[in-house]
Subunit: 353 residues, 3 copies
Amino acid sequence: MSKTTSGHFFEDFQIGQTIAHATPRTVTVGDVALYNGLFGNRFAVQSSDAFAEKIGYPRAPLDNLLVFHIVFGKTVPDISLNAVANLGYADCRFRKPVYPGDTLSATSEVIGLRQNASGKTGIVYVRSRGFNQDGAEVLTFARWVMVEKRDAASPAPAETLPDLPQAVDASAIGEACPILNTAAYSDVLAGSPHRYDDYAVGETIDHVDGITVEEAEHMIATRLYQNTARVHFNQYAQSKGRFGRRLIYGGHAISLARALSFNGLANAFHIAAINGGRHIAPLFAGATVFAWSQVLAKSTLPGREDVGALRLRTVATKDRPCADFPLKAGEGEGKGDDPAVILDLDYWALIPR
Amino acid sequence: MSKTTSGHFFEDFQIGQTIAHATPRTVTVGDVALYNGLFGNRFAVQSSDAFAEKIGYPRAPLDNLLVFHIVFGKTVPDISLNAVANLGYADCRFRKPVYPGDTLSATSEVIGLRQNASGKTGIVYVRSRGFNQDGAEVLTFARWVMVEKRDAASPAPAETLPDLPQAVDASAIGEACPILNTAAYSDVLAGSPHRYDDYAVGETIDHVDGITVEEAEHMIATRLYQNTARVHFNQYAQSKGRFGRRLIYGGHAISLARALSFNGLANAFHIAAINGGRHIAPLFAGATVFAWSQVLAKSTLPGREDVGALRLRTVATKDRPCADFPLKAGEGEGKGDDPAVILDLDYWALIPR
Amino acid sequence: MSKTTSGHFFEDFQIGQTIAHATPRTVTVGDVALYNGLFGNRFAVQSSDAFAEKIGYPRAPLDNLLVFHIVFGKTVPDISLNAVANLGYADCRFRKPVYPGDTLSATSEVIGLRQNASGKTGIVYVRSRGFNQDGAEVLTFARWVMVEKRDAASPAPAETLPDLPQAVDASAIGEACPILNTAAYSDVLAGSPHRYDDYAVGETIDHVDGITVEEAEHMIATRLYQNTARVHFNQYAQSKGRFGRRLIYGGHAISLARALSFNGLANAFHIAAINGGRHIAPLFAGATVFAWSQVLAKSTLPGREDVGALRLRTVATKDRPCADFPLKAGEGEGKGDDPAVILDLDYWALIPR
């Protein structure tokens, strides 16, 4: 039996199977500092214990995306090491705040299987969950990946497709955000006077700034998450591949876009759910990432007067400022994506009312 | 009303106005580790809790320059986002030690205004202050920047110029350094036998070593300080600009020079005040930074037998060793700066007697 | 007397002399996070407080190699600043676990001296020791370096050669690993079902993955250890040297190889001793590091049922995958090293039985 992990193939997955992923991870203020150094986050709640305590947290919580990346990273060796493509994710909900000192672990349950027509690959749908040291679920999300079969001749499993929502319902979000004393929430310290009522559905915001990415940065980030996907780290192998370059982890673009979005969304401090997202084009070191956002919808939360939710689409580009909100390659139906667009993310963010 | 910050223009500043800056920030051992990884600091007091406790600190304090950078960073979006030039700073005094777990916030008061002859720009003088979570002032400094006017036709304000000292008086420094038990201060562990009495006014010290700067490093550092000045991060925009390159934050050169100065000033562990400084030439990634120092003055501190102060000029260069103490382009009055010099910093450092 | 350190020359070393090294260092979760970001470690014991507590540690200990690098770094200014070559090390034993919050300091004792035939250089053997804040020895190792003489005419000292073991005896290892409750050790969370009995002497394991190294990364790591060896940081000086490049600290290759070795040795969580190692070829930024390991020997530990020891040879290469276990340039005696091999490390790792 080989001592090294070669990952799972399509035949290895069965409906209902639950995989406990390796390497539990205690998150610390060290992780927070490094994450801040890599992305330059400025949301006050995650930046300041004093600010967080004033509004009702025991201390500053971890940035939800840092939690997402760490939990996602754990799933890679078991779920997507042999992935031909990461096809999508849905129904991502943050369920409990995570604080420095907490230990995260993760499991994935197989919730869908569909062999492709070629017989050489199949699509695996999993529900991944992150837990803290008390066994409480802090995060849940579904994702689906195209995985190679070990043997094209092996029989196809019964096709099962999970029922996943187009968007998380607003009634299901906010669990990871305690009831806040928003009167104690200082707009001045948070960096913006704009609260829930100031945003209109349809409104677009150019986040103005751009950040150039270096090889060292995305590799440090992705290793911090213990994400082992080979395409990010191995220039020797990548030099022989399709792009000739190391491919930057898609989550890096998400974190960059989120950090840039502070300029325009400074009070939308908490990502409560991710409805879905597309990584439209690969990102490589040397490129400068820009972003813009649109308010897709707004919702109050059942029984809560403290915060409301903005459903946001945040679009990131490379080497292209976003003053004109680039998205499609042209007007009208059937036009493809603007070639500068790398990410189209749909999520719910909480903002004080 | 735009959701994004476009910064303030000259007309937006009024004498006496106080601006509370966004994003309070809890500093942690994570920030300390990253700062150490970026600069390689070796001053024992900031490196070791055990060493610091022995001489009278409750634990190792943060490097004062890290505190400076974080407080400075907070002022950028409000003060210098539209700055044409950072002209100078003065009367920078560290007033209280900062420890991991403290939360820093900042304000700036407008203390001077002068419209330039062109009518298109003006000079704004501010007094910026950093506070901890208890509201105690940990740092104060004045700086002045040239800012664009929104409208050249708007009237000039009454000219007000602040009264700033050429150098901080020695009687006003040392507040951030508790009375130390210097008998317990180990020269061996600190790395040098040279204390206050061993330094002579006029003495010059070549710090010997050089450190090459990478793009990833200065961007990680500057983001760690939540400094958002665009010239440091956005290669897409900079490629169209005057230098074609990302410009490294001036404070990065200060921190590099300070770290290099350990070799020759190992016991001058505490920067108590910065009298002023000039960023003489821009620094770009790929350059190697060297430094040398001169003792400009010495002073005991009123009522203190534990430490004395060295007034130091530390000069940093790029791609030029400092064995011959480069400063001017030639001998005599009126000669310009040596083209390799990037920084000329004047400050008070405390050293055990 | 010069204020700057120029390091020691061969004449400065005397048998029995003990040097206390500068800059004690409190290690923190910040150091752990940065180390993880740089190397991507996944060993569960060091990654998770919860996992470590379950098996008998008070919390997750620091990675032993991080401890080694920090202690080693302290010795550089006194021992190897004028080293012509780092010749070898031996009898490295980890003696106590190190936890975040501990403060490390180091001493070196001169245990051997031999002037070279040329009369211009000599070999200095030292026993270096790392201590925690309570004065307990956490690490000990011998190393020998070739050092320049200040004056070729100075007389040779009496030749003294230390008695160093080819390999640490298995009875002398494991002190830094408490007795573990291995029943509570989860193979699933640790990432591998393979324990002590599953490894056979002679077995070889290709660790599959590769990691490309960037300049920023090795410099951040080496500064984190406060290692001041000039060849790693100063491109200006190195550009005039033999390689024209910054030379990566040999310990960086060790840490990369160790992190890669998780894939195949996930349960060999604790490096207990380093028997020796050769840095066969220099490593430069841009290269991709691969690794493979061979089990050289196995041993139970006296009086311990919880863990056994694997004596491992881990070989690292640059820009060369290790599926065929590269080592020698050809078959047979007298063949040199494979030109892709950069490191050949011999160590004991503990693994649950």
